[in-house]
Amino acid sequence: MKVLHIAAKGYDEGVIEALVENLRIPAHIAYIGQENHTQAIWNGYTEGAPGLFYTYWPNSNQHGIPIPDLGRAKIPPGIDIKSQRIAVLCCATFETKI
């Protein structure tokens, strides 16, 4: 079983891998790139084929499919990834350069 992921770096590095490990399911992460990832979601959604994939919200629609229309995999809340407050980060040392 595959969990389709976008890339090994740049998106929740190691988080999904740890989640799969915690679930103890016979699955591995497949990094397929943004374009293939979007296409895979489209294919699965329109053909009614089951499949697991990584994504996040807020996110742009995937070929017109809103992410909230895709079901979240049922994972015990104790180990599932929780909602988080997105933030702006600013280099504080920048002050000294002005």
Binding site: S60, G64, Q84, R85, I86, V88, L89, C90
Partner: protein, 331 residues
């Protein structure tokens, strides 16, 4: 504490940012004030108040004809920059002066002249993420920082979210407009929460939350399936042509019953565009909607369904003598 002002809702918080920025003695808060103004305006876009925010604070430079609160934001940047020109000791005076006049446009213009004479703003290096929502936010910020506030802006696309923290801490990166703290929790703790307090400033958006995780392309429907058999539930707006196949998959059980035994199919659209299909023998049901469904091409849907889906009807034991199927989120 700087983040406190940002946590206020809407454009009203702009004045607070203005005040806090102008009373800061440190010169570098010009950059922070600028970033905060941009941040709040960007957040306003998500609340569809961008027009007010930008028209008042940025584009009109504090004109009294627009929102006073938003106008104060532009003043904040102007006041902060004027303080740089006059030296740190005069920052408080500049703030008091600005407090008294509230949004005078010509004063802002005079300050703008001082800025140009005082110093050249340094280059701001902003993280450019690979996902589209962050790109949108960052693009708006880059435009405002560059075209309105006068910074030279450089976008850095070669840094991952994990690497971002060390670069922000050592000053090789200056701003990141969409950071997900829990996605790199260790780095966030190291550099923001428990690290050197002066290394990275942290400004949470007031109402913007995100969640990542594993999703299913198509939720499996519980029921009396054969081993290994899986059928997908569907959610989506059935009025969109491209999702017609999903509607077909959803109403399949109803169609089977309807065609075989004169059952009446009832289809309901939920408020959040879930689709519910119910099949009830002899029931009046929602004939209007099922009628509409037939008008929309029942034959076509049925044919498509046969081709795509191999499944059994999900039986609902709570309905005596009735077949029932339900497709929607959460099943």
């Amino acid at each position: 504490m700087r983040g406190t002002s940002v946590r206020q809702e809407g454009t009203a918080s702009l004045t607070r940012i203005a005040v806090s920025a102008r009373h800061r003695p440190a010169r570098g808060h010009v950059a922070l004030a600028a970033a905060l103004v941009v941040t709040v305006c960007i957040q306003a876009t998500r609340a569809e108040t961008l027009r007010t925010c930008l028209a008042g604070s940025m584009l009109k430079g504090g004109s009294a004809s627009s929102s006073e609160a938003a106008g104060g934001a532009a003043d904040a940047v102007g006041a902060g920059m004027a303080a740089v020109d006059m030296g740190t000791d005069s920052a408080g005076d500049a703030g008091a002066e600005t407090e008294s006049r509230r949004g005078g446009a010509d004063m802002g213009q005079r300050r703008a002249k001082k800025i140009a004479q005082a110093f050249k703003l340094p280059e701001l290096i902003i993280k450019w993420d690979s996902w589209s929502t962050s790109q949108m936010t960052t693009a708006i910020a880059a435009i405002l920082l560059s075209e309105r506030l006068g910074f030279t802006v450089k976008l850095d696309s070669g840094t991952t979210s994990k690497e971002m923290y060390s670069k922000l801490a050592d000053g090789t990166l200056h701003l990141a407009f969409e950071a997900w703290p829990m996605s790199n929790a260790q780095e966030f703790r190291e550099y923001v929460t428990t690290g050197d307090a002066s290394s990275i400033e942290h400004f949470p958006y007031t109402t913007l939350f995100g969640r990542s995780g594993i999703h299913e392309v198509c939720s499996r429907v519980p029921g009396n399936m054969e081993p290994g058999e899986s059928r997908c539930a569907c959610a989506g707006n059935p009025t969109e042509p491209m999702l017609r196949s999903l509607l077909a998959a959803c109403v399949l059980p109803c169609f089977q019953l309807w065609q075989a035994g004169g059952m009446q199919a009832r289809v309901a659209w939920g408020a959040d565009m879930d689709v519910s299909c119910f099949c009830a023998q002899g029931s009046a049901g929602d004939s209007r909607r099922s009628g509409r469904l037939r008008e929309r091409g029942a034959k076509e849907l049925a044919n498509e369904t046969r081709r795509r889906i191999h499944s059994k009807t999900v039986q609902n034991p709570k309905l005596h003598g009735e077949g029932s199927a339900h497709c929607g989120k959460g099943l």
